[in-house]
Each structure stands twice: as structure tokens, then as C-alpha cells.
């Protein structure tokens, strides 16, 4: 008995150090990523995608086919928020040119706070994010060439960009909870919709899946087309429309774990 603790100790210590090491490495990688990739990058010709895959036949052929349908790609930082960031950037960019759709969206955005509060979100924190969200919308709403520059600038300032991401996460969560009976069917395991929202939708950096996209698109009434580029069969990145049959206002490229913006 006397020996037991001292025998166990080295093994236990290794375990803890491993934990610590993994976390340190994770933080280092995250830092490297954030320093090297802009939150939202410049528009690049689609050929830049092909150049990434010169050594990889499957992806190269898909990148080439994609090049026949799309002209540009805009990359976003792979930090788990990329769907929400890419979606909101692409949608606001589109609205710069379409005045009446912009007004409709602004109206909806304005009312969204009360909707969230009535669903039980704390007014106090929601208000904070809503204010900044509206500020961003109004700053890019002028519909001029300067709006594009402003949009790009705001989305690359963490203080604005992350506030927009948080608010969209709340809107998506609100949508899921409002129609929980419907969305429950899409949730694997025995989590309730509310639990799922608390764990996978509302926290920052949690990656987005179909259900996030469906909720986002439904909440704003915006069609989204996602091109899925993976190791699957074929030479084309499969297109998926959310919801089906609605002409897409936003085009995204999905590669495992990450979303970027596409331009037809």
C-alpha cells in the first residue's frame, strides 16, 4: 500500500503534461492561423484554387470544373466561424446593389432583437450585439462604391466582425428554437434543440453544418447555394441549395471543415 502512490505518480503526471501540451499546441496553431489569414480576404480569381491542388487529381479536376461556373473566390479565416462570416459578408455585399432587398433585410434585422428576447434570450446581452449589427448594416447601406470598402474594413476588424458572427449565431439559434418540433428531427443523439443550440450554435468557433445553414437561410429568407468539394466521386463539386428551389443570393464553397465565398 505504501508504494502505491509513488508508483502511480509518474504516470499521472505524464497524463497532465500531455493535456497541457495538447492545449498549448492547439493555441499555437490557432494563433498561427489567425496571423496568416485575414478574417475575410480579397476577391481572387478562381484559378488560385486550382493552384492549391496541382498535386491532387481529385481536387484539381473539381477546381477546374468549378472555374467554368464561378469567376472569383473570397477566402475567410478558418476559425470555426467561417460559415457565419462568409454568409453575412456575401449577403451584405449583394445588398449594396439591391436597394429594396436591403430595406427589407434592414427591417427584418431591426425586429430580430425583440424576437430573440421574446424567445427568452437575455435582452441585456442581445442588445449589445444587435446594436453593433445594425451599425454595420447602416454603414454599408449607402449603396455606393465606398460601401464595399467599408464592408471589407468592418469585417476585418475583430470588434465588428465577431459581433456580427455572434448575432447571426443568435438569429440561427432563435430560428431553431422557434421551430424546434421541426428541427428536432435533424439532431442526432438525444439532445434537445435547445441543448444543441447552447452547445453547437451559440458558442463562437463551433463549426456549422447543414442545420445551421438551413436555419440561417430560413431566418433571413435568403437562398444559399453551397458547393461541396471533397474526395467523393465525380469531377464536380456537388451543389446544394438551401432551401431547395429558391434562387441563391449567396454562393459558398465548402471544403471539409471550411467555407469560403464564391462569385458566379
Amino acid at each position: 500500500m505504501e508504494n502505491k502512490p509513488s508508483q502511480q505518480k509518474p504516470a499521472e503526471n505524464t497524463e497532465v503534461n500531455q493535456d497541457e501540451l495538447i492545449l498549448q499546441q492547439q493555441r499555437r496553431i490557432e494563433k498561427e492561423i489567425s496571423e496568416s489569414i485575414a478574417l475575410v480576404g480579397e476577391k481572387e480569381p478562381l484559378q488560385s484554387l486550382e493552384r492549391e491542388y496541382l498535386e491532387d487529381e481529385v481536387y484539381l479536376s473539381k477546381a477546374k470544373t468549378l472555374g467554368q461556373k464561378y469567376s472569383y473566390i473570397r477566402r475567410t479565416r478558418p476559425d470555426g466561424n467561417c460559415f457565419f462570416r462568409a454568409f453575412s459578408y456575401a449577403y451584405l455585399e449583394r445588398l449594396i446593389d439591391i436597394k429594396d432587398e436591403f430595406e427589407k433585410f434592414r427591417e427584418l434585422a431591426l425586429k430580430s432583437k425583440d424576437n430573440l428576447v421574446s424567445l427568452g434570450f437575455p435582452e441585456f446581452t442581445v442588445e449589445d450585439f444587435h446594436d453593433t449589427f445594425m451599425e454595420v448594416i447602416d454603414k454599408v447601406g449607402a449603396g455606393t462604391e465606398a460601401s464595399r470598402l467599408e464592408l471589407h474594413k468592418l469585417f476585418n476588424e475583430q470588434g465588428y466582425s465577431d459581433y456580427v458572427v455572434v448575432y447571426l449565431r443568435l438569429i440561427a439559434s432563435g430560428q431553431l428554437q422557434r421551430e424546434a418540433d421541426f428541427y428536432q428531427h435533424f439532431i442526432e443523439g438525444d439532445r434537445t434543440v435547445t441543448e444543441f443550440c447552447h452547445q453547437e450554435v451559440e458558442p463562437m468557433y463551433k463549426e456549422s453544418d447543414h442545420i445551421h445553414i438551413i436555419a440561417m437561410s430560413a431566418a433571413l429568407g435568403t437562398g444559399v447555394q453551397v458547393r461541396y468539394m471533397d474526395r467523393g466521386a465525380g469531377t464536380e463539386a456537388t451543389a446544394h441549395d438551401f432551401p431547395e428551389g429558391v434562387p441563391p443570393a449567396v454562393h459558398l464553397l465548402y471544403r471539409p471543415g471550411h467555407y469560403d465565398i464564391l462569385y458566379p
Binding site: E12, V16, D19, F124, F129, V166, H198, Q199, P203
Partner: protein, 154 residues
């Protein structure tokens, strides 16, 4: 006076609201927090009709400049650390909203409510099974622990 950062602005707002309308059994030390917005002490009473009735606890909240994007660092401090299956004797708390499930839409108030509810639903006062090992080896900052969350029903 220098302009407040977004994180300070948010903390200031939270502090005012918590002082004005504290949840039952929760009391923030406003003078102390007002002096240093990045570190608060919150007094908590065990709720009536629960195993902790009549007990008083102290929670320490530390906030980084990235709050509310980063979760606050929350620990029990002082002479009375609640004996609970998710609370280590060094004051660390195993609660998913403090790390993995933190969202910027949560707040000091919602963390306090979760802790009150965690204590209130306890059926047997005991320490976590790995308490002595954990307390000997853990980092001072509980956010650096890779938690494995037990079920929330305890």
C-alpha cells in the same frame, strides 16, 4: 477619462445590472469590482430547501480583455468551498458553459444562475471522485484544464 474598450463597456454594463437586479441569493461586491473591472467577487447563498441552505460561498470572476468572446475564469474562493460532485476542493468548477459551451450571449448573471442551479439540484454532498489527484496536478487557471463533462443532472 480614457475611452472604454468594448470589453470594459460590457463589464460596466453587466456590473450595473447585477447591482440593480441581482438574482436571489447573489450579491456582487460593487466597490471592489468598480475599482478593478477585470476581477469581481460575488457572494452566493445556498438556496432554501437545498443541501446548501444557510451556507455562504464566494465566487471569483476574472475577465480577459477578450471578454465576452473569451469566457470568464470562475472559481470558488475563501473558507467555504461547496462540497459538490462538480466542485474541486481548490474551488475549480466543472461546468461546460465556463469553457466549451461558453457563448458571448451569456453573462455573469447567467453563470451565477447556472451555478445556483447546479448546487440546488445536488442530492448528495461529495467531492468529485478524482479530487485529490486533480487538485495536486492541475493548473492554477481552471480554463487550462481539458474538462471531461459529467452529466449535468447532478
Amino acid at each position: 477619462m480614457a475611452a472604454m474598450s468594448p470589453s470594459e463597456r460590457r463589464l460596466q454594463k453587466e456590473l450595473m445590472s447585477l447591482m440593480r437586479e441581482p438574482p436571489p441569493g447573489v450579491h456582487v461586491d460593487g466597490d471592489q469590482a468598480g475599482q478593478n473591472l477585470t476581477q469581481w467577487i460575488i457572494h452566493m447563498e445556498g438556496a432554501k430547501g437545498t443541501l446548501y441552505e444557510g451556507e455562504r460561498f464566494q465566487l471569483q470572476f476574472k475577465f480577459s480583455s477578450k471578454y465576452p468572446f473569451d469566457s470568464p475564469e470562475v472559481t470558488f474562493i475563501g473558507g467555504n468551498i461547496p462540497v459538490h460532485p462538480h466542485v474541486y476542493s481548490n474551488g475549480h468548477i466543472c461546468l461546460s458553459i465556463l469553457t466549451d459551451d461558453w457563448s458571448p450571449a451569456l453573462s455573469v448573471q447567467s453563470v451565477c444562475l447556472s451555478i445556483v442551479s447546479m448546487l440546488s439540484s445536488c442530492k448528495e454532498k461529495k467531492r468529485p471522485p478524482d479530487n485529490s489527484f486533480y487538485v495536486k496536478t492541475c493548473n492554477k487557471n481552471p480554463k487550462k484544464t481539458k474538462w471531461w463533462y459529467h452529466d449535468d443532472s447532478v
